[in-house]
Amino acid sequence: MNENKKRLRRTMMFLNAQKPGLIKDAYIYKPDSIIFDLEDAVAENQKDAARYSLFHALTTIDYRGCEKVVRINGLDTPYWREDVRCAVASGCDAIRVPKTESPQQIKLVEEEIVKAEKVYHIPAGKVLIMAAVESARGVMKALDVCEASERMFGVALSGGDYTRDLQTHITGTGVELMGARQQLIIAARAAKVQCFDTVFTDLDNMDGFRQEVETIRLMGFDGKSIVNPRQIGIVHDIFTPTKKDIIFSEKVVREIDEKKKQGIGVFTVDGKMIDIAFYDGAKRVLDMAKASGIY
């Protein structure tokens, strides 16, 4: 298995691949992942220019540990195959497939990646895939999409297009996204892949942004798509375990390991009843703390 499948992805920051001023030093803000956009942000007559820009940026600039994801154009356009070839040749880590509604779409992209990895001498299996779900049909097919390929590491909700398809709009309350968020996180967990929330575009409403990030963390999401470096600190703050969480999780892991040897199944830690069901959660907190660089 590609070890990067489970890497830390609290923040996935979108950048227009055609804008040198944006992509030249985006790593300084330390998002976990950068999504170089060849799709919506790039005008129809600049698709080629965006690819040259992407290719030379990725083959030249050291992004210092930030994951490099490329959002290709939709499979209903004439651009996506060339996007895949360019992205793979550039040495990207993953490809984000927009408007996903079926596992066949993921398989099609995978076939193109396999071909490109051979042509450009990239190690087989290096390039991962994530899917963006942007429609009611996509939400209904989420589990099949998540299980479409061994390369799939995650699925993301794209709220703008999804709410249009639902014949509503982004309200700021999250009510219009409730069902999709719930369904996507359930599908992702069932398929054992990660799940990412949609962007929050009202940059003047940082309190609303914080509230939304707190909500999606409690729902089980692994991270959030973002559109501005100002959003990174808030997401990392909320998604990084606190010192209290870490100390408690350490105790839980230690106690479960010890009590298991003594044949004890249920016991208390800091006054809370604990059994084996808490083990994976506590390990996850410690893994997250390690990945975040605070443990």
Binding site: F55, T60, V119
Partner: protein, 96 residues
């Protein structure tokens, strides 16, 4: 590679450069304007000429207006303009 028709790539935004190519008179005729010409003019010119060499462009009139672009941006814009002028798209490994 031949310049079949005039083509432009890039913008005049900060950190970018705008490259215009037209058919030449049997040589590389370069016109460079840059906000950092006194510090980096020679380096920018070298990047442009190397990129044209790599693409085997021997006859071209090329005009570059630089707004503080990195070398990788200059390469990207020159290639884009040349490929547009030639009606092709990039063979990615070959231009690396």
């Amino acid at each position: 590679m031949k310049i079949v028709k005039p083509a432009v790539a890039g913008t005049l935004e900060s950190s970018d450069c705008q490259v215009t190519v037209e058919s030449g008179q049997g040589e590389v005729e370069l016109e460079l304007t840059s906000s950092v010409i006194s510090q980096y003019g020679e380096q920018i010119e070298n990047v442009i000429r190397e990129t044209l060499d790599k693409l085997a462009v021997e006859s071209v009139k090329i005009t570059v207006v630089d707004k503080g672009a990195l070398d990788c941006t200059i390469r990207a814009r020159v290639e884009c303009a040349v490929y547009r002028a030639n009606g092709q798209t990039g063979p990615w490994r070959e231009i690396a």
